[in-house]
Amino acid sequence: MDLLDDVDNGMTSSPCPFPTETNTVKSGFIMFWVFLFLRETHAPTLLRKEAAKIRDAIPESQSPLEPPARIVATKVLMLALVRPIRILFISPVIFLLYLYGLYFNFWSNVLFTTIGLVFQSSYDVSTPQTGLTYLGLGVGGLFSVAIFGHSSNWIIQHLKARSNGDSKAHFRLPPLLVGFHFASVGLIWYGWSIQRVAYWPIPVCGLLIIGFGMLTCQVDPCHIAIERPETDMLSLLFRSTLSTHLLVTQPQLQQQMLLHVR
């Protein structure tokens, strides 16, 4: 655990070859391309475009449609902010799921930000090499997408048929119920194999199981968001952007904070 002590003292023995600036530039670059290829799925915007198209097609004198109302940006923003927050505290179901999501984000963030340090402190690997250990998580995630991406719809159809065609939001939950077990088993596997400094593929296998469970848990809130889009989209957006930036700035932040504490 020498390396952990070093970080605690505010200095790393092996400096990260990619500083924060590089990471920020990279994430900005990716974000740019994502926005370029992202499909517009915001229902009101789509409807507005559709209405505009119809309005243009018929001559103005015969048009039964009212002219478009002016969109006030502050109103849209307030609506987008207030409504999800209200539902979060009014609906106990959403609030409970939010609590679960909170803990999920806690442990996944702890894991993500420490894998590199953990491997460097237990095994004789360099910083760039520890990046390869994330492949374990990635491959596990791929398995999860391959299995639950395909079976998710089937599960819902099956449950729907069983309850006489009634569709409920909690029909989206079964993959999560499987996923968090895998994640827990994977965490124990990973932790103890690192502790005993086992042959390196063994903790990476643990990471594979964690990755499988993690993505299975994560796909689910997205699906629930489809069922109740207004409640979850904002939190998903917040969560993803916040956690990404926390990941990027984490080592520096950690050093700063620990320096101030001492």
């Binding site: 655990m1 952990l4 002590d5 970080v7 605690d8 609906s91 106990p92 179901v93 409970l96 799921l97 609590l99 679960y100 803990y103 999920f104 984000n105 806690f106 442990w107 963030n109 702890v110 894991l111 993500f112 930000t113 420490t114 340090l117 953990v118 237990s122 409920k168 939001a169 909690h170 939950l173 079964p174 999560l176 119920l177 968090f180 077990h181 994640a183 827990s184 088993v185 965490l187 124990i188 990973y190 932790g191 103890w192 690192i194 502790q195 005993r196 926390l246 990941l247 984490q250 932040l253 950690q254 904070m257």
Partner: protein
């Protein structure tokens, strides 16, 4: 900020127990979606009645 807890956690009780603690808490928190799945309908009714 969650990531900040990682290093003190691992330093305190080691990798094995640190990760086991996270896994056990994960199972405890997993009771929430299990309850929602099994008793989701009853909960919804309870809320609507009150």
């Amino acid at each position: 900020m969650a990531g900040l807890a990682g290093i003190p956690l691992y330093r305190g009780i080691g990798y094995g127990w640190g990760n086991t603690l996270m896994a056990l808490l994960n199972i405890v928190c997993g009771l929430i979606p299990i309850t929602l799945y099994l008793r989701g309908d009853a909960l919804q009714e309870l809320i609507q009645r009150s």
